[in-house]
């Protein structure tokens, strides 16, 4: 029986977050890891294909990739503060009201469970949202209605399935590889 190490489940969970399915590879369950990892990655990119990369809403940034900044109205205090991506000055919303901003974009929470893949796609989304010049449109097109809903659903479900895989692989690592050894 493999000796239990308390750091191993954490390492396996971290690996599973960095690359979906890789947690299983570390504990020696190759076919399970490849099957789960490939399925989750394909599902995430299918979502981007359906809704377009701009369906990923990045907390702290507006629809045209400008930073959302906070300003207060006439010095009435924080309760009167408002945030907009049109403001040139003012503190970034993620430094002042990060929880409010993330609550405005709840799908970003399951999507971040995809790890660096989601972070890279968020950067791609911001790049596709930027206007080339003041008069021109952004490179990418925003999706609306059903295509947006289904695309976002795909990416969010991919993130949640990866969370499930992270928990399962970390649990198996904690059991010393005994759980599901037959894989």
């Amino acid at each position: 029986m493999e000796e239990f190490s308390p750091g191993k489940p954490i390492l396996v969970a971290l690996a599973g977050w960095i690359l979906p399915g890789s947690g299983y590879l570390i504990i020696g369950q190759r076919s399970r890891g490849i099957t789960i990892g490939l399925t989750i990655i394909i599902l995430f990119f299918l979502g981007l294909l359906i809704g377009g990369v701009r369906e990923l809403e990045v907390p702290g940034y507006g629809p045209t990739a400008n930073k959302i900044r906070v300003a207060s109205r006439g010095g009435y205090g924080a309760s009167e503060a408002y945030a907009s991506d049109d403001l040139e000055e003012g503190p970034w919303v993620m430094t002042r009201h990060p929880l409010d901003e993330i609550r405005n974009k709840p799908w970003s929470i399951p999507q971040i469970m995809m790890g660096p893949i989601d972070l890279l796609c968020d950067m791609w989304s911001l790049q596709a949202s930027q206007r080339v010049s003041e008069a021109s449109h952004a490179i990418g097109t925003r999706s609306h209605s059903r295509t947006n809903e289904i695309g976002v659903l795909y990416t969010a479900v991919a993130g949640l399935l990866n969370l499930l895989a992270i928990i399962d692989s970390a649990y198996r690592a904690g059991q010393g590889g005994e759980a599901g050894k037959a894989a």
Partner: protein, 80 residues
Amino acid sequence: MISTILAYRPFLDPLPVWPNSVWPWLIVPLCVAVAIVYKSIRCRTMDRVPREAAGITFWILICMAAAAVALAVIVRGIVE
């Protein structure tokens, strides 16, 4: 329709699937993926996964179709 397809840029534009006859089919790949991951986690050996995932995909789709029919009947009953 052809011009829309020709102008389509993958990942930069949303998939042109607006007609009501097309977009409901997008639920199928989602169900397949959920079934594969779920059964890969649950099954003790991976050789059982394809068969069990196919079974659970079938039942998810049947149940969702039944729920859709039931909801349609209820909505029509209320409206008409």
